[in-house]
């Protein structure tokens, strides 16, 4: 994985992988602020890890709202996500001050 992604961007990528598609939904899912999510989406798209398309005007008009910009993860994005998750997974398991991580696991 050539580029090191910040954790917020990985969280957004993760949410995209789970099928969430636009800004508001991603914010709800990740718990990040709008000021983090939108730049993260731009960064992902710039790196080719996600792509965006505009919603069909007719659908938007039918639902009486402005058209949305939808995002989806690319194949490269999926690989990058798996790499990133592997790296984070390497941090667990661990015992901190007598508390096991993941919670509930036996202390190592």
């Amino acid at each position: 994985m050539p580029t090191k992604l910040p954790v917020g961007t990985i969280m957004v990528l993760h949410a995209l992988a789970r099928g969430h598609r636009y800004g508001f939904d991603l914010i709800e899912q990740t718990g990040l602020t709008s000021g983090t999510v939108y730049p993260a989406l731009e960064r992902l798209e710039g790196l080719g890890l996600a792509r965006s398309r505009w919603e069909d005007e007719r659908v938007a008009r039918r639902e009486k709202r402005p058209p949305r910009r939808y995002f989806e993860i690319t194949a490269e994005g999926k690989r990058a996500l798996i790499d990133a998750l592997d790296r984070y997974r390497a941090l667990a398991p661990l015992t901190i001050d007598g508390v096991a991580y993941p919670r509930g696991a036996e202390p190592a």
Binding site: Y22, G23, S34, V37, W54, A60, P66, R68
Partner: protein
């Protein structure tokens, strides 16, 4: 659709949209509108809509940053830096100019920060306030508060969680070393609790200490305790004497707070439950108040409320007519530490510093414009190759940003260091106010000022770059044709403005310096050399009878005069030249005249003196007689007035022989027996010679007095003799302010000297910058017109003619700038005259001198480029075509 979004959200979007690169803007906006509409549709999410919308700013700046990186903004910066290094002269000049401006502004900010803004090290600093009485009719801002006002304003307003008050006085302390005169304060209940200053040792006052039947106690300030008592931790429980009265030390408080400044020992007011009758009067403005606002109370609102309450009280019934117009003011404790003075001082210095900054920016702007012109071919080429206008503007802005950053760093460091250096030599009256430091707020302010400077200096050159026309500039031989390049008019405008502002600043500085010189040069009306002065305060506990007090002064004068080095000595209640003693002003009427408010009253300083006073000071009566030993307590009451008072009270007939009384206090008829010439009683802050009434010391006995000793040689050499003589008389009486009158006067002048020096430094900076600005413009103009000049000379124009043409150009600039500057300078003079004594408004000579200096400097600055123009070789100039 966005019309339906709240105004705040729309404003945020509009702002963010400015940052988004233009080609993305429409789609970006569409995306955000969709998201916001969606979020609005969720009832639970509606509240956070503004916070959500703020994300658009982050989004927009991300896109902008990426845009810049992609297009090589960093490469541009490198290019800028290289370009600046290739022209070290230009770069150094611009950096120096900006450093001077930014340094001046930062220095004044750091002064303001130290004196007004820096919080005190107290837990509730943000809620601690002081309350003052004010009176606009009498032009009095911030004076002490009366007890009834205190009760009404603090306890009945409901605005405060706690409050207390104190009054300062000087007392002689003995115990633990030689007797010493120190600042002390008597505090009401709850003072330390309100202030929240930390107790270092023992305890602070409780209700018991304020009980008149209890023992008298005292609390020491920590610095005083460690200085005088060597930090003795067993001090609690021991006894010190204040004016001879024993006080039991119960604790030591930390005085690192620095407020009230200089108080060494605290004692409790022992009123018990009742308030002394003399205190419970609205006219008795005595107390310094400190109060703790309730949490959540808004300061300005509380201030308005107090002012309303006070105004209601003073327009109500039973108010002395002299008190009409009294109101109240609320000031944060940390900004009140400098007292009344700093306000006017900062207004003046702040404006001066801003002017220096403005001139510096205009100067730098002029230099950058020249640079933009020099870079014209390069910019045209880049424009031809497809660089956007914004990009070219940024490239030039980049130069001003880089220069202002370096200039800012230098300026902030030099400004604060310079100020600290100046502070090291400043008198205690200035240094006790605060300690300017290079701390975070100052650095932030410096950065802010630098950013403003960068924008101010860079905006015109950047605008020029935007107007670069590709075809035209390439066609015209890369902008070096016979016609003048654009921007000349702009640069000339800048120089005119620079000259105008410099004139205003120089005139202000000159007026201040002249005012100062006038005050130094003022003949005090007596021979101030070879005079030694000091003050004493006799312990009231032992000097219980007037006869004892009188005997002490008479004895002291007699013993001093017995010394061979002493020509004469006298005691007086107040020293001349503002050197110390008791400052009393009283209102007089002729005996038998209608008393005020129906009849007129005449205010004059009240000074008690010995018969020897006139001889020691060297002033002989102009009319009538001076005092003699016969003007004893039992003799008829007499007075001597100065000529000013005589003219004021009795302009048409001799005042000698008439009887006057001071209506509000002594109120006994005194026969005027003599008139003396006016002399300077006050210090520099009120240097004009006020009306004066002198009375014999023996007829008005008080325990604290000042002494004047006229010596035959150097007065300073006599200080040990004076100490010894007084110690022989009473070893427990402390001498205070033992110094030559000259030194006392110099110390008094030092504060104003500090201000004047700073101001003069700003003035000189402005002059230097105006001159270099003119030089830059004229010099560039000559370079640009080399070809034209060459042609003229080839056609037979003489060197003198060419020189005159060049100088005429700068003369036109100077005349325009000076005319505009005169108006500004006059306004500046008006402002200064309000804030400072000794400055007369209509002082045409000063204005003319300053204008002349500026004009000559400007013309001199254009002389060199003009001379260069005469050396243009026509052949060379034409060949370069």
């Amino acid at each position: 659709m966005s019309e339906r979004l709240p105004a705040t959200v729309r404003a945020i979007l509009a702002l963010a949209a400015l940052v988004v690169p233009a080609y993305r803007r429409a789609l970006w906006r569409r995306q955000w509108v969709a998201e916001l509409e969606h979020r609005r549709a969720h009832p639970e999410a509606r509240r956070g809509l503004v916070g959500f919308a703020l994300g658009s700013l982050a989004h927009a700046s991300y896109l902008r940053r990426r845009e810049m990186t992609m297009r090589g903004f960093h490469a541009d910066l490198r290019h800028t830096a290289r370009g600046l290094l290739r022209r070290p002269g230009f770069s150094l000049l611009t950096v120096a100019t900006l450093a001077a401006g930014i340094g001046a502004a930062t220095a004044i900010f750091s002064l303001a920060e130290a004196l007004l803004l820096r919080p005190l090290p107290l837990e509730n600093d943000d809620r601690l306030v002081r309350i003052f009485s004010t009176n606009r009719q009498r032009a009095q801002s911030r004076f002490s508060v009366s007890y009834p006002d205190y009760v009404d304003l603090t306890q009945r307003s409901g605005l405060f969680e706690a409050s207390s008050f104190y009054v300062e006085q000087s007392r002689d302390v003995s115990g633990g070393g030689d007797p010493e005169r120190i600042r002390t304060a008597s505090v009401h209940e709850g003072f330390f609790q309100t202030l929240g200053s930390p107790t270092h040792l023992g305890r602070v006052f409780t209700a018991l200490d304020h009980d008149p039947r209890g023992e008298t106690t005292a609390v020491l300030a920590r610095t005083f305790w460690s200085g005088r008592f060597g930090g003795d931790s067993t001090i609690v429980g021991s006894t010190i004497r204040l004016d001879g009265v024993p006080h039991t030390v119960i604790g030591v408080v930390d005085d690192a707070v620095g407020w009230p400044a200089g108080v060494r020992v605290w004692t409790p007011l022992q009123w018990g439950g009742s308030v002394p009758e003399a205190v419970d009067r609205r006219t008795n403005h005595t107390w310094q108040i400190v109060a703790l606002l309730r949490p959540g109370v808004d300061l300005p609102a509380a201030g308005d409320r107090l002012a309303q309450m006070a105004e209601a009280i003073y327009t109500g019934p039973g108010i002395d007519p002299r008190d009409t117009g009294t109101s109240a003011a609320l000031v944060p404790l940390h900004s009140s530490r400098g007292g009344e003075g700093p306000g006017a001082l900062f207004a003046t210095l702040g404006i001066a510093a801003l002017l220096v900054l403005l001139i510096a920016c205009m100067n730098a702007s002029g230099l950058l414009l020249v640079r933009a012109w020099a870079r014209g071919p390069e910019l045209s080429l880049r424009a031809a190759l497809g660089a956007g206008r914004a990009r070219l503007a940024l490239s030039l802005m980049g130069e001003s940003v880089v220069l202002a950053s370096i200039g800012g760093a230098l300026g902030v460091a030099l400004g604060v260091l310079g100020l600290r250096n100046a502070f090291a030599q400043a008198p205690p009256s200035i240094t006790s106010l605060g300690d300017p430091r290079l701390n975070l707020p100052v650095v932030l302010a410096g950065v802010g000022i630098s950013v403003v400077a960068a924008l101010l200096a860079g905006v015109f050159p950047a605008m020029r770059a935007v107007r670069v026309s590709v075809a035209e500039s390439l066609k015209e031989g890369a902008g070096r044709g016979t016609t003048r390049p654009g921007g000349t008019r702009l640069r000339q405008g800048l120089v005119v403005a620079e000259i105008a502002f410099s004139l205003a600043l120089l005139a202000g500085a000159a007026l201040t310096v002249r005012g100062f010189q006038r005050q130094i040069a003022t003949d005090p009306g007596f021979d101030a050399s070879s005079l030694l002065s000091f003050t004493v305060r006799l312990p009231a506990s032992r000097y219980t009878e007037d006869a004892l007090v009188d005997a002490f002064y008479a004895d002291a004068v007699a013993r001093l005069e017995r010394h061979p080095g002493v020509l004469s000595a006298t005691s007086t209640s107040r020293l001349p030249l503002g050197a110390g003693g008791l400052s009393l002003t009283r209102a007089f009427i002729f005996d038998g005249a209608t008393p005020p408010p129906d009849g007129p009253e005449f205010r004059a300083a009240w000074v008690e003196v010995d018969p020897e006073y006139f001889e020691t000071l060297g002033i002989a009566p102009r009319e009538g007689r001076a005092f003699t030993q016969d003007d004893s307590p039992d003799a008829p009451l007499v007075a001597v007035v100065n000529e000013r008072m005589a003219r004021l009270m009795s302009p048409d007939q001799p005042i000698v022989g008439r009887r006057i009384r001071s209506v509000y206090d002594e109120n006994l008829p005194r026969t005027v027996v003599g008139v003396v010439a006016d002399f300077q009683l006050n210090g520099v802050s009120r240097a004009e010679r006020n009306p004066l009434v002198l009375v014999p010391r023996a007829q008005s006995v008080r325990t604290s007095m000042a002494f004047l000793v006229r010596t035959s040689g150097d007065p300073a050499a006599l200080t040990p003799v004076v100490r010894r003589t007084l110690a022989e008389l009473d070893a427990d009486v402390a001498l205070d302010q033992l110094q030559t009158l000259r030194d006392a006067h110099a110390a008094d002048l030092a504060g104003i000297r500090f201000l004047t020096t700073l101001f003069a430094a700003f003035g000189v900076l402005a002059l230097v910058m105006a001159v270099s600005g003119v030089y830059g413009v004229v010099s560039t103009s000559v370079t640009q017109r080399t070809h034209e000049i060459g042609v003229r000379m080839a056609m037979g124009a003489s060197a003198g003619r060419v020189r005159r043409a060049v100088i005429r150009e700068s003369a036109a600039l100077a005349v325009t700038g000076l005319s505009a500057g005169m108006v500004l300078a006059y306004a500046a003079g008006r402002v200064l005259a309000v804030g400072m004594d000794g400055i007369a408004i209509p002082e045409p000579s000063t204005y003319l001198t300053v204008a002349l200096v500026l004009a000559v400097s400007v013309l001199a600055a254009s002389w060199f480029p003009a001379t260069r123009a005469t050396r243009v070789d026509p052949v060379e100039a034409l060949r370069s075509e």
